[in-house]
Point group: C2
Chain length 347, copies 2
């Protein structure tokens, strides 16, 4: 089979590798139909975070189950499934009491001997806990695939930001970030009933998707100018909920600057450049900081029915589709900000 392999900074290749094979009776083999490239994949591509030469690539995919082990009971051969970016066993102490993102056997894909999502097939170590079947209706299926694919990571991650920040009916929200996650955070805020959604975006094309997803205002300024603008928009009060979808020191400074007293920052941007929070700066402001890696497997059952009905449609985040053989071009497009998020069509 063909799979994406990391060879070093700016060097990803698609190569022939052994077909995925079951290693235990709780596993399944999935033939990938659609995959995508994540903003976090760019870190190693840009040489900013370490990754072993020869490692597989990709952690977001949907596909068809082509084989299941003898102890797999929920998932069946022929099922079409969503595979969230973090696999869990569903049976350990942590999973059983609800802390499944701390699953004792949990892992991202593409680590150790785990297959990556940017390849033709994937061995899924804990099939029943890690895969979510969806019905395929021929008339709709192709059109729905991008939205279904978004549930593997970015839509659930944007939703996590909104949930963590306590977005609810009538909230005033600011979303920091106009990548795929930031845009999904706008959509999630709208879905949860936010009254005002101020989107910090300095790219016109991305801001336009933000508006489509429900942003009521766009702030294209950056840094201090953005803070001043939002303070003005909120009469000096700040916003109830900040959705931090970037992860840099600058974005965190903005988040603290625009949260109102008693507000919450829901954060999902993987911290980059080790931003630190000084508690003393926070004490008088009662600003809560809630977030981290999204428990996508908890959110998929909530969001999937709305995606299937067409009520929730994050598909506009995918603005480029490639074939697997053109994987490097996909990385380049995202690296050079020529694409928000690249879908890989393996059908």
């Amino acid at each position: 089979m063909q799979a994406g392999i990391f060879h070093g900074a700016n060097d990803v290749r698609v190569e022939e590798v052994p077909d995925s094979k079951l290693k235990s009776p709780v596993e399944a083999i999935v033939r990938v139909t659609y995959s995508c490239i994540c903003g976090s994949d760019l870190w190693s591509y840009r040489g900013l975070s370490p990754k072993d030469k020869g490692a597989r690539l990709g952690h977001e995919f949907i596909g068809e189950v082509v084989e299941v082990g003898k102890k797999v009971s929920k998932i069946k051969k022929g099922d079409f499934v969503i595979a969230p970016f973090w696999m869990i066993d569903g049976t350990c102490l942590m999973c059983k009491q609800g802390s499944s993102m701390a699953c004792l056997n949990g892992s991202a894909w593409s680590r150790g001997d785990y297959d990556g999502g940017q390849g033709e097939m994937v061995r899924v170590p804990f099939a029943d806990a890690s895969l979510f079947p969806f019905p395929v209706r021929k008339a709709l299926s192709k059109k729905l695939m991008p939205a279904l694919l978004s549930l593997t990571d970015v839509m659930c991650t944007g939703h996590h930001a909104a949930v963590c920040a306590g977005v609810s009916k009538g909230s005033t929200v600011a979303v920091i970030g106009d990548g795929a996650v930031g845009l999904c955070a706008v959509l999630a805020s709208k879905r949860l009933g936010a009254k005002r959604i101020i989107h910090l975006s300095s790219h016109k094309d991305r801001a336009a998707i933000g508006k489509k997803f429900g942003a009521t205002e766009t702030v294209s300024e950056r840094g201090e100018a953005a803070l001043a603008k939002i303070k003005k928009l909120t009469k000096g009060i700040g916003v109830d909920c900040v959705l931090e979808c970037v992860g840099t020191k600058e974005s965190w400074d903005s988040a603290f600057g625009i949260a109102k007293e008693g507000g919450k920052i829901g954060w999902v941007g993987i911290p980059y450049g080790a931003p630190e929070i000084k508690l003393a700066d926070l004490f008088g402001k009662n600003v809560g900081i809630v977030g981290g890696r999204a428990p996508a497997h908890l959110y998929i059952p909530q969001l999937l029915p709305e995606v299937l009905s067409g009520k929730l449609d994050p598909s506009a985040i995918f603005d480029k589709t490639i074939k697997l053989k053109d994987l490097d071009a996909g990385y380049k497009a995202m690296d050079q900000r020529k694409a928000i998020k690249v879908m890989i069509d393996l059908t």
Copy 2:
């Protein structure tokens, strides 16, 4: 009138000062009946944080209203009142939309030309917003005073820790700290329905009050040993809610160490020694950090009826009562950990 005055480290004195006088029509004068010394008062007493020589002392008091300005409508002469540690105007933009701890005219007592609570009288700048009347029934009044006094700060602050950490029916809670706030946090957790309350306390007398307040287990170990004990008590999972009532780097390390994945840290310990949080350490654990300065004026209306009925009784935190003239002895007792919290009887 007599009032406590700061003269420098280890030097507080009670001196004659001009009687409190109204300066504006929205003010009231309160004759203090009971006051107390706060753990945070010790910082300047120990020379660890700056305070002007000559500054007034104290920010927790209850008393009788002896005079009101012409524009005071809610509060009346003769009312007995609770004065929370943070005064608010109740009328500014921030107060009006619910962020009253960011009141544009908000302040602690004993700052600038504000009177302190450790004195015979206090001018209250925003009487209607900053004072909470309570009925005085002669048979009960004396006995209830310590509990009423605790509502000025520590009971509301302990409650804030529990609210911020999301303590609810069935929660497993760990309370870090066995000062008055930590003990009140135990009581607040019990009140909110926690199933398990693990109290980190290495002082037998304080741990005993913790047990009385609802702690189901006491961990007397410190540092790594405490973490290991709590991990064992929770089968390696950690606790749902950590109530951080200390504010040092060590206490924060403990808080992160014992919070379960997806748990919350409710924090009210004023940060000391500038603890910093590295977001990268948090990302995979989904631990929320929510807290800060408690909005006591929002909690008093909820807690006061239960104090009056005797259902909520934090009075055991006061283990020493002094007269105002013995103020320095009160500070010394708390500084030397010979008292948890000192009440000043001005009746």
